[in-house]
Symmetry: C2
Subunit: 365 residues, 2 copies
């Protein structure tokens, strides 16, 4: 979305409210409910999204007046950032709001940032817009190496960045991979996502991405919004997305957030989900297939067991029979395995493991 389009969307809220006032009505702002009960699994898209339940915020309501004013203030600030062509974090936004409103109003309109966070989500949902399009930066994390070039238009400069020439560091996935940024060329044939940066570094040292002509990505734990958007864009170009995570609660969560989105950001829907993603490992059946792993398993913790039970209770889990089998196996064996264990016998084994898995299509889909 261009900055002009985003500004227009923000203006439209304002204009709508002015019309309401001119008609003698109190201004309102409509948003989609982000509650658990309005979070659904979109069967056709294969990802989490919000349902159709709406909520209308009213200015002329004792209970909602404050929230309403806050929402309008945030929208107004974002419009200013777009006009200035400057970005800031939601913490920066919080301080701008705290300062500006303090001039005319005795009481602080915002006392805690937690108040503004939810309202930004309201604006995202209500306007069908991403916060990145409103010049708000988000936490960044995650790295890429591989045969891809990026055009980055930023701060008045245009830079071509070659992701095959970033040495040990790799290219850091920024907060926003859409605005002012485009993929120029891409020679890699698939994407490999490894949960941990340590394993990414191991594979980067082996030049795995060069040998196998893939893009080597680590979200460095849970994926940021930027990483999820980048993976979506790569999947849109037809690249298979293979994931290598720990076989435990956290690893599964990281994978499913990439694949279907997470419960609390479900409202972002398909733009931030990659239902095409496949789970290469580590899996319970690896223990049988690669005998050295047997002694490298760890006793599953309560959190792992609880998570496996919870996932088996998801209404949509039966769409994924491989996963039902896997999770039941975890509950039976009460074991977990980390991706790091793949280095136990030989440091370079990880690459062989990945190649075998992809070649034999041994993945959970």
């Amino acid at each position: 979305m261009s900055s002009a389009d985003a500004s227009k969307k923000l203006e439209e809220i304002g204009k709508g409210m002015v019309q309401q006032i001119n008609k003698g009505d109190g201004p309102t702002f409509e948003t989609t409910l982000r509650t658990k009960s309005n979070t659904i699994f979109d069967e056709s898209a294969g990802c989490l999204t919000t349902g159709s339940k709406k909520e209308t915020r009213k200015f002329l309501s004792m209970a909602q007046a404050r929230t309403f004013m806050q929402t309008v203030a945030i929208a107004s600030k974002c419009k200013q950032f777009l006009k200035e062509n400057l970005h800031t974090s939601i913490r920066g936004l919080f301080y701008q709001l705290k300062f500006t409103l303090g001039e005319d109003v005795d009481e602080d309109l915002f006392t805690e940032q937690s108040e503004s966070n939810g309202l930004i989500e309201d604006i995202e949902v209500g306007l069908r817009i991403k916060r990145e399009d409103l010049n708000l930066t988000t936490d960044r994390k995650g790295f890429v190496a591989g045969e891809m070039t990026i055009l980055d238009k930023f701060g008045g400069d245009e830079t071509i960045i070659d992701l095959a020439k970033q040495g040990r560091s790799g290219w850091s996935i920024p907060s926003d991979v859409d605005n002012g940024m485009e993929i120029k060329t891409i020679k890699a044939k698939y994407v490999l996502v490894v949960e941990k940066d340590a394993l990414w570094q191991r594979l980067n040292e082996d030049k795995f991405w060069k040998k196998e002509n893939c893009l080597l990505i680590t979200p460095k734990g849970q994926s940021t919004r930027g990483t999820r958007r980048l993976l979506r864009k790569l999947a849109d170009r037809g690249l298979p997305i293979y994931c290598l995570m720990d076989c435990d609660a956290w690893g599964w969560y990281i994978y499913w957030t990439i694949k279907t989105g997470s419960m609390n950001l479900a409202y972002l829907g398909h733009d931030f989900a990659v239902p095409e993603a496949k789970f290469l490992g580590v899996t319970m059946s690896d223990i049988k297939e690669f005998s050295f792993l047997d002694k490298l398993t760890i006793k599953a913790k309560d959190v792992d067991v609880k998570r496996a039970e919870e996932m088996l209770g998801y209404p949509w889990i039966n769409r994924y029979p491989d996963w039902v089998r896997e999770l039941k196996e975890v509950l039976k064996s009460r074991k977990k395995i980390e991706q790091d264990a793949l280095q136990g016998q030989r440091l370079t084994f990880v690459g062989e493991y990945i190649n075998q898995k992809i070649k034999n299509k041994e993945w959970l889909s």
Copy 2:
């Protein structure tokens, strides 16, 4: 340290032990105590370091036999990594140990990684060597932008990386900035370290590093070993190091870790400390100097107050009279300020603030 030198150091431990055995003695390994009582402030260097108390680990001791074996096993594995010319994380090392020893020994030599972590520190201290020199990678974090080029010899490739051409992402500071990596050219005149990545992004968007000809660095919170080593190397080249942190417990801690090292990694000494570092802000006196900040302060939390009290109790704090004044002011006002607050009035104000501080030498040293 070259990989051959590191291997030699490891060999020397082994040879020493063989000599002890040949003489009919039980093998021993000497290391420096890393306890609090053996952590001292080196007045001449201006950083934390370990004192002279030594500890001797004995193989022929019921209490120490296990630890002794573990230490030797780690040294042996690291020697193998150096020979293979491959790197791994301490988690990777843990699994290699778990696997190898499991073949011959019934009992696991290591059950938890926490056991191996301390022993790696023993080896670092005992051999006066960094774990990075033993092909062990550490967590990485932190970014740089500015007029500097790096030669990165890695995985068989040699890459020149221009830190002025990294767009919005910047260059990610790797785990190891010493081995196979060198600074080729550097035009920047000083180093600016900002605590938070969000502020780094703000300043990067303003091209602050280009306008002011500095290196813009964020440790992204607490500094990693890699970031500390990089800052040490830049200080060794005579570049002033200015830091902009939050005025709170965490901000001070991040700054003092850069400046003097931290208590628990004090054994790393001067190689990982930058006593030359200056603290530009945010400070309590900023509230008076920049009036808009007054309404953007936050009530200090217990942790901030406790930290200020603790720091005032450091035996060496009187070397830093500016800091004594600052911390007393915190205790009096019970307020804190975040660096993000500098954006409250105008997003681009941060740069002006930094320039004024440097120009007028308004810093805490």
